[in-house]
Symmetry: C2
Subunit: 219 residues, 2 copies
């Protein structure tokens, strides 16, 4: 999943290290943060548990670095995809799509949202995790804000407060994603996508109509 050419650069630095980090991410996604045992991670890599301790002095450190690693991967893939799109409304739609729809090329939605919720949960009590989370969220809102400003400069969007939009839209996306991650029957991926887009278009005053029942085109 993900990180096709993304992690290549970091892989060069210390293959074993990033190999362990990736394994840790997989285990976290499967078993949850607090249920992740270093034995699991070691087994997945095919090494002894002691080696994991050799690279990361402690379990906390391993998990913290794994989370940060996931953050990096996500942004490398995400921003690359975004920059390929010219119009602001198109970019915004891409943003919404990668958070709501899982069948995209940037395919980390379903399981990575679980990881995201887990991150929140840990951030409640572990200051180290909280710092990563806040940083990540600030970055995310900044991304939205930039798209909004871009669209406003180009005359695509109305001149509303970009900060306000960023807070509101990111919150809405978070909330919808929680329902998706928990597979709530009341919130399907399409519904989440359309709800978020309707919200965004109304807020920013640009035209947007939901795709017809057919799988949508519109690169």
């Amino acid at each position: 999943m993900s990180s096709t050419a993304a992690g290549a650069a970091t892989d060069e630095l210390d293959p074993r290290r990033t190999q362990i980090l990736r394994a840790a991410l997989e285990v976290i996604a499967e078993r949850g943060y607090s249920e992740t045992r270093i034995a699991d991670v070691a087994e997945r890599v095919g090494v002894s548990p002691a080696l994991v301790m050799y690279y990361f002095k402690t379990k906390d450190r391993l998990l913290a670095e794994a989370i940060r690693h996931a953050e990096d991967l996500w942004y490398v893939d995400g921003t690359r995809l975004m920059e390929a799109i010219p119009t602001a409304s198109g970019r915004l739609e891409a943003l919404v799509r990668i958070t709501c729809l899982s069948d995209e090329e940037v395919g980390l939605s379903s399981e990575s949202w679980a990881l995201w919720i887990d991150l929140w949960c840990q951030a409640l009590r572990r200051p180290a995790v909280a710092a990563v989370r806040e940083e990540f969220d600030a970055h995310w809102r900044e991304t939205i804000r930039a798209v909004v400003r871009h669209g406003q400069a180009a005359g695509e969007f109305e001149p509303v407060d970009a900060d306000e939009v960023a807070v509101a839209l990111s919150a809405l996306l978070d909330g919808l994603s929680v329902q998706l991650a928990l597979r709530d029957p009341a919130v399907t991926e399409e519904r989440a996508f359309e709800t978020a887009m309707r919200f965004a278009s109304r807020l920013l005053g640009f035209a947007w109509e939901p795709p017809q029942r057919v799988r949508r085109r519109r690169a």
Copy 2:
């Protein structure tokens, strides 16, 4: 906190039992679901750990019942408060207020949102918890939907799809509450409240202006 006269009825049934449940909720809020030890709960009540096992055969069962207990408390307090308000827009504002603002008489916001995030996290993997969560969320959306329909019947709100509004508004509130629970500096309680209300009023087409800097009145 909360449950002034609320838990009275259930307290009669088995005082010790509900005493343990309440203690469990406190510990969960402090230490987190997965870090909660039965020894903690026992100590808080002032009994031996074995007694906790005596009432609830297993730890999982204790925690599951504690969550359900919290759910009950929340709704008893919540609906009682809501029914005292006549207008739909007033009710909606009350809904938004009890989720965003912590200094209200229904004072479970700050720490109970932590419990809520924890609930999501556990629901990811434990089917039993997932069931409680889904039921709770469905109930919550139904509450919103009812208020919307009520307002539409009274001509306060525009005739938009009530389901759609319920999904969108509950998602927005969830997302904002996450930021509040994690004490993100970018999202203060007032800001969350105003953002949600602006969203709701725009969506439903009713007039709403943010309160002036002064602490608002308007019962």
